[in-house]
């Protein structure tokens, strides 16, 4: 599976996914008079959300069932040792010895992508020199992507709640702070698209990344890009009947599903792709969302010299005992003047 094949495959799959609702909601009724809105608007979304929740919980429980036999945090700073050796806030966070430190480390990791922030790039100079350059673009792209995605999701609550919670209008206002176009362009949507494009270009332009990337890397990027694009198109270009859409989404969320009239196909396209993302989520690398919380190199404190860590399956010790060792070398030991437990093991001890 090389880069080109992966691209073709993942691109093809996403195109097919786009084609399905187009066929189902647009072509079928026109050609055969079959209406499948209920399938795309109700059945598939419900199905996807169920897979999403069950899948995530199942996966996390599976992880939870595995013990953490050893305490293996990556220690990215000075350990807590002698009282006069500096153990300040940076050390507490990067080499935590207390729960507070671990919580701080996890917060920084989950909310600020701290490890990515440390990223560097190796550069080869002339001759033998290797130099290191701080490389924050990936961090920036990842931050932009994840936070914009979060904002976009929170904004979508306007379709799933009535009345809206207080924070939704505030987010909308801030997100659309710079007013241009009608309806007002949300900056998060544009940034999300830009960040995704950056992440995709990275994979395509960096030979290292092109080599390691699999279909499973391109596919979610293409899928989310397609979701973003359909969303943007729906809001700004092809336009959809928002009231009917909200009727549908509210029906979904209150378990009284309805298919109102007059929702354009672009909406079904959008919701179908989102459903695919939901259903795909638990089986994919996207599970890093939950996994990051369980990573033993990050969520453990470095205190196993202070407190004993328990391994639930710790096997009984089997080792070459001193007795066996002395039996092996007793004579040589005595000869060398080393103390032994049993002075004269054999009566034939040499005088």
């Amino acid at each position: 599976m090389n880069a080109i094949l992966s691209l073709i495959l993942s691109g093809g799959v996403v195109s097919m996914l786009v084609a399905i609702p187009l066929l189902g909601v647009w072509a079928l009724p026109h050609v055969f008079g079959i209406h499948l809105e209920w399938l795309f608007g109700i059945v598939i979304p419900y199905f996807a959300v169920i897979i999403f929740f069950v899948g995530i919980v199942y996966k996390v429980v599976q992880w939870g069932k595995c013990p953490v036999p050893f305490r293996i945090p990556s220690t990215c700073a000075q350990q807590k040792s002698l009282p006069w050796i500096k153990y300040g806030y940076a050390e507490k966070l990067d080499n935590p010895v207390s729960t507070a430190g671990v919580v701080g480390r996890m917060i920084l990791e989950v909310l600020c992508f701290r490890s990515l922030f440390k990223n560097t790039r190796v550069e080869f100079g002339s001759g033998e020199t290797i130099t290191y350059k701080s490389a924050k673009w990936l961090w920036l792209g990842a931050m932009a992507f994840h936070y914009c995605f979060l904002v976009v999701i929170l904004r979508h609550l306007r379709f799933f709640t009535e009345p809206m919670p207080f924070f939704v209008p505030i987010i909308e206002k801030v997100d659309g702070f710079f007013q241009f176009f009608l309806p007002t362009v949300y900056q998060s949507g544009l940034l999300l698209g830009a960040a995704l494009t950056f992440l995709l270009l990275r994979r395509l332009l960096d030979p290292k990344l092109r080599y390691i990337s699999l279909v499973a890397d391109y596919f979610p990027l293409f899928l989310i890009l397609a979701i973003v694009k359909t969303g943007i198109l729906m809001r700004y270009v092809f336009k959809a009947d928002v009231v009917s859409i909200k009727e549908l989404t509210m029906g979904l969320v209150t378990f009284r599903p309805v298919i109102p009239e007059g929702i354009s196909v672009i909406f079904y396209l959008h919701i179908f792709l989102v459903s695919i993302l939901f259903a795909y989520f638990p089986f994919s690398k996207l599970m890093h969302m939950a996994g990051v919380f369980l990573s033993p190199t990050r969520n453990l404190s470095n205190n196993s010299r202070i407190v004993r860590h328990i391994n639930p399956w710790n096997p009984p010790p089997k080792y070459h005992t001193y007795e066996a060792y002395e039996d092996d070398f007793r004579e040589k030991m005595i000869e060398a003047g080393l103390p032994v437990e049993k002075q004269a093991a054999s009566p034939a001890a040499k005088e």
Partner: protein, 294 residues
């Protein structure tokens, strides 16, 4: 959907080479900028883009008053406090100009000044005492070479083809560069919300007097618009109308005259032919379109 598609095709057609034969022939008759302007219906390409394929299909209404260059003549000698106040009142009323007591935040479209302020360069102590007392009606001069339009970074203030300098209150970012540029102090800024509204959208305190004309949001600049909205309906500016009515009543020559400066038969041209008229601060070269007969 259908309507929209037709429009879309129309736009698309303009931009494709195949359909360019006729416009190309037309293009020979005018300069490229004019041609493009015509194709775009007066909109810039970026504006067209912002409308996403909607091409304006508007027309000028038949009853609209049109001109090549609108101008006004103020015959100061025919003015008195009453007329000036009537002009100010009707203007501010129909345009929903708020009455703000704090002079720092005041908004004025048309108002009376003393000679020494209206024409500071031409003032001397020994001037006709009568003239000193007369209310000089001042307003936006709708300069032919308007410094405000020159400095506006968004074309929010712009000069129409008929010479009217207009404010696009939808576009103004409130940088107030135009206020610095205007040598006549004709521009006002909405320092506070002019017509405050409650959460439910109802007006707090006073309601604007005219439901037909929009109010403004805070943070935009505004000024006299030569009653562009009235011209479109075939009416002359409200101040001119009010002044002329009052003058008629008082048996005077009309204090305010309005018309097309490029039309030799227009009323303004006739008045200017028969009276000695000056303009404010002519040395700045802004070429005001408001003339004063003193």
């Amino acid at each position: 959907m259908g309507v929209n598609r037709r429009k879309f095709l129309k736009i698309a057609g303009i931009s494709t080479l195949g359909a360019a034969a006729v416009p190309a022939a037309n293009a020979l008759a005018m300069n490229p900028i004019e041609w493009l302007d015509k194709q775009l219906g007066g909109f810039t390409p970026s504006e067209i883009l912002l409308h996403m394929g909607h091409k304006p299909t508007g027309l000028k209404s038949r009853e609209a008053l049109t001109a090549k260059r609108w101008a006004m003549v103020v015959n100061v000698r025919q003015l008195d406090e009453e007329i000036a106040e009537a002009c100010r009142e009707i203007c501010h009323k129909i345009h929903n100009v708020p009455h703000i007591k704090n002079p720092k935040h005041e908004i004025k479209w048309i108002w009376a000044e003393h000679y020494e302020h209206a024409l500071p360069g031409q003032y001397h102590e020994h001037i006709d005492e009568n003239l000193k007392k007369l209310p000089f009606l001042v307003m936006c001069n709708h300069c032919f070479n308007a410094p405000c339009c020159r400095v506006c970074p968004t074309k929010a203030t712009f000069k129409r083809k008929d010479g009217i300098v207009l404010m696009d209150m939808h576009r103004c970012i409130g940088c107030r560069f135009c206020m610095a540029a205007c040598p006549f102090g004709a521009r006002s800024f909405n320092w506070i919300v002019p017509w405050p509204r409650a959460e439910d959208g109802k007006f707090e305190g006073k309601e604007p007097p005219s439901p037909e004309f929009p109010t403004r949001s805070k943070g935009v600049v505004e000024k006299c618009n030569f009653c562009a909205e009235r011209l479109a309906k075939g009416q002359i500016p409200a101040c001119v109308e009010a002044a002329q009515e009052l003058c008629k009543k008082k048996g005077r020559e009309p204090a305010l005259v309005f018309g097309d400066l490029e039309d030799p038969d227009s009323e303004v041209r006739q008045v200017l032919r028969s009276h000695y008229a000056i303009r404010r601060k002519p040395e700045l070269g802004s070429k005001p379109n408001v003339y004063y007969i003193v």
